[in-house]
């Protein structure tokens, strides 16, 4: 049974390597942003499988934390791509 978890960990790591290729090579900025978001999701999956392997529940908060940080990063990048500015000084212009 544990072998399956190790296979899952290896596959998730392989997926992260593939996403890293897209981050480095990616023709446009949007490709890189989506690849970074997917890396965050894969990290959450790795933490989940790792907490099953180690039979502990203290890692589960990290999944929520990674989810929040990945969401913030993606939202910031999306706003930068659309508007060219991340934090606006005044919303009336």
């Amino acid at each position: 049974m544990t072998v399956m978890f190790y296979i899952a960990l290896a596959l998730l790591s392989l997926a992260i390597v593939c996403f890293l290729y897209r981050v480095v090579k990616g023709p446009t900025v949007a490709d890189r942003v989506i690849a970074l978001d997917a890396i965050g999701i894969c990290l959450a999956g790795i933490v989940a499988v790792l907490s099953i392997v180690l039979e502990t529940s203290v890692f589960l908060e990290i999944i929520l934390l990674i989810g929040i940080l990945a969401f913030l990063g993606t939202a910031a990048f999306a706003k930068f791509l659309q508007k060219g500015v991340v934090i606006e000084r005044d919303g009336n212009h």
Partner: protein, 138 residues
């Protein structure tokens, strides 16, 4: 520009992130957590507000000067350290004990929570000062 989806999501998600920060703050004594990362998570919630709205709106939502927050946090930390001197024990000595509270039952209370509250205020203040200084257009 239409930002309806981002603003609607922000109105809900900000409170979830702040609640998660408070949970991390109180978990810090026995489990992973504490004042430092609770402050960072709370700063993340305020950054999400800054993304969805703008600096002027967020300042009217949260009418606190972040530089004052740094000073309040440092005063909390200093006051916790000096509190030990009042009871004739070394600087930064902490006290703890079990208290029976109504509804909650046996609760373990520790003065290190006050020190952690100071750390929390300082981290929120410093992070938001840095982010606002970087984010402002020249």
């Amino acid at each position: 520009m239409n930002e309806l989806i981002l603003r609607t999501v922000t109105a809900v998600v900000t409170f979830i992130i702040i609640l998660f920060g408070i949970q991390l703050f109180f978990a810090g004594h026995y489990y992973p957590g504490g004042g430092f990362i609770a402050g960072l998570v709370t700063a993340g919630a305020i950054i999400l507000l800054l993304l969805a709205f703008d600096i002027k709106t967020v300042r009217s939502m949260i009418p606190i000067s972040y530089r004052t927050l740094i000073g309040i946090g440092l005063l909390f930390a200093l006051g916790t350290g000096l509190g030990g001197l009042v009871f004739d024990v070394p600087f930064l000595t902490h006290a703890h004990g079990h208290v029976m509270l109504p509804l909650l039952g046996d609760v373990s209370l520790h003065t290190a929570v006050l020190f952690d509250l100071g750390v929390y205020f300082v981290v929120v203040g410093v992070t938001m000062t840095i982010i606002e200084t970087i984010g402002e257009e020249e």
